[in-house]
Symmetry: none
Amino acid sequence: MLINKFFIKLNIYYIQKNKKIDMKLTLEQAQKAVEAGIKKSKELNLKMNIAVVDAGANLMAFNRMEGAWLGSIDIAIKKAKTSRYFDMDTGEIGKLSQPGKSFFSIEHSNNGLITFPGGVTIEHDGEVIGAIGVSGSSVENDHQVASAAKKAIS
Amino acid sequence: MLINKFFIKLNIYYIQKNKKIDMKLTLEQAQKAVEAGIKKSKELNLKMNIAVVDAGANLMAFNRMEGAWLGSIDIAIKKAKTSRYFDMDTGEIGKLSQPGKSFFSIEHSNNGLITFPGGVTIEHDGEVIGAIGVSGSSVENDHQVASAAKKAIS
Amino acid sequence: MLINKFFIKLNIYYIQKNKKIDMKLTLEQAQKAVEAGIKKSKELNLKMNIAVVDAGANLMAFNRMEGAWLGSIDIAIKKAKTSRYFDMDTGEIGKLSQPGKSFFSIEHSNNGLITFPGGVTIEHDGEVIGAIGVSGSSVENDHQVASAAKKAIS
Amino acid sequence: MLINKFFIKLNIYYIQKNKKIDMKLTLEQAQKAVEAGIKKSKELNLKMNIAVVDAGANLMAFNRMEGAWLGSIDIAIKKAKTSRYFDMDTGEIGKLSQPGKSFFSIEHSNNGLITFPGGVTIEHDGEVIGAIGVSGSSVENDHQVASAAKKAIS
C-alpha cells in the first residue's frame, strides 16, 4: 500500500518531467483555497470575492462574502483567469501594461483582463495548474488574501 | 434571551410586511446549498456545476465538481440568474418560451438566459431572496440536484 | 528502453484510472487532425474550416482552406468548443436543443454554441482530451470531415 | 511551357497595376509561415501562439505550442488582425496609441486591438495581402518570431 503510493508519486513525477501530463486541480483544493481566503479576510476585517480557476482557466470555485463589492465578482474571476492566462501574478502583468511599457493596453484582449494585484498562480512541481483571484479592497489587501489562499494549498 | 429572539422575529416579520426590507441570503446559506447539491450529485453519481445568486441576481457561490461539463459553468450561473430574474423555476419560463408561446425567444435578453429546468428560487416568507442553478446532466437530474440544494436551506 | 516505454504506458494507464491526471493533447496531434481533415476535404472536393481545441476548450490549431466560407471560421471554432464543453458530438446536442426538447435554446450560453453536426470529441482511454470542429459545407459533409480528422489521431 | 509562365506573370503584373485584383494568400503560405514561426520559437526555446490572417483580416491558420500562454491565443489573433487592419506592424500603431498621441485608445475599436509588437504585415508587390501575429513571450521575442515567419514566405 505504502509502496504503491510511493511508486505512484514517483511515476507522476517521472511522467511530468517528460511533459506528457498535467496534474489536475481538485475541487477540494479549490474549496480549501477559498476557505483560507475567507478566513484571512475575516482576520483583516475585509469583505472579499474569491475565485479559483483550473489549468484550462475555467471557473472551479467562487465565494462572495456578504456585503462585498458587487463589481468585484467579475474582477475576482478575471484576475484568476488573467493570472492563469499568462502564468504569473496579475500585478506583474500590470507593471508591463502601463503607458510606455511593452504590454500597454493588453487589457483589451481576452474579453477583458484585470492587471492589478490580487491574482496569483497555483503551482504543482513547477507547473501552473490553476489560479486564484481576489477582489474587494485595496490591491495590497487583495493580494494578501490571494496569497493566503494560495499558501493553504501549496 | 428567548424573549429577545421572539421579539427580533416579530420585528423582522413586521418590517417585511411593510416591504421595507428583504432578508439577505447569507454566504453560509449559499455554501450550505452548494454542499447539499454536491452531496446529492455524488449519491446520484453525477458531476455538476452549482451556482447560487442573491436577491440582486449577483453570483454568491459556485462549485464545479471534477470532470463536470465545462459548458455547464455558464449554464449553471445563467440558470440561477434566470430564475431570480423572473422569480420562478427556469423550467416554468421554458414552457413559455417555446415557438408560438408568449415569451418566445426571451433567451435573447439579459445577455443570454437559460430556460430549461435546473434553476430554482430561494424563498423566505414568500419573498424570493436568491436562486440556485445546476447544470451537468439531464434536465431532470439538474432539477433534482437544485431542489435538494434548495431544500437544505428552506 | 522498450521496457521503459512499457512501464510509462502502464503507469499512465494506472494513474488515469485513479483520475489524478489528464493526458494532454499535443500540437503534433492537433496538426495531424487538421491535415487529415484537409486531405478528406480535398477528396470530397470541399473547402473547409477546421479547428482543434484542447481539454480546456482552448484553441490549439486552425486552418481555413482557400475559398472556404468566412462565416465558418467562427462556426468551426464554436463547434470544437461546444463538443468539448459537453463531451459529445455537436449533432447530439442539437437533437436535444430543438423546440420542445430538454435543452431548447442552450445555444444562448457560453457566448454562443453551435449545435449541429461537425463537432466531434477527441478521446484517450475513455477521457475527452479535446475536440475537432469542421464547417464549410452541409452538416453531413462537415461531420464526415471531422470524423476523418478524429480517426487520424485515434 | 516557359513562355506560358512568362505570360502569366506578365498578366498578373498588368492586372495588379490596374488594381483589379489582390494576390490571395494561400493556405500553403499561411502554413509555411506558422511552421517557420514554430521552428524559430524552438530555436529560441520559446512557446508561442502563431496566427495568420488573409487580406480580409480573417483567420487562415493558427497553432499554439504546448504550454504556451492561454491568454496569448486571443492576443496572437488580435495582433494579426490589427496589423492588417492598418497595414502596418502592430508596434508602429502602439507608438501612436500612447497617452497624448494621436491614436490614443484606438484599442477600443474593432472589438479590441493589440498594439504592441508581434504583429507584422505580409506583402506581395507592395500590397498587403495578410498579416502574422505572434504572442507568448516578450514583445521583442514575439516580433522576432513573427519576422521569421514573414521572411519564410517573402
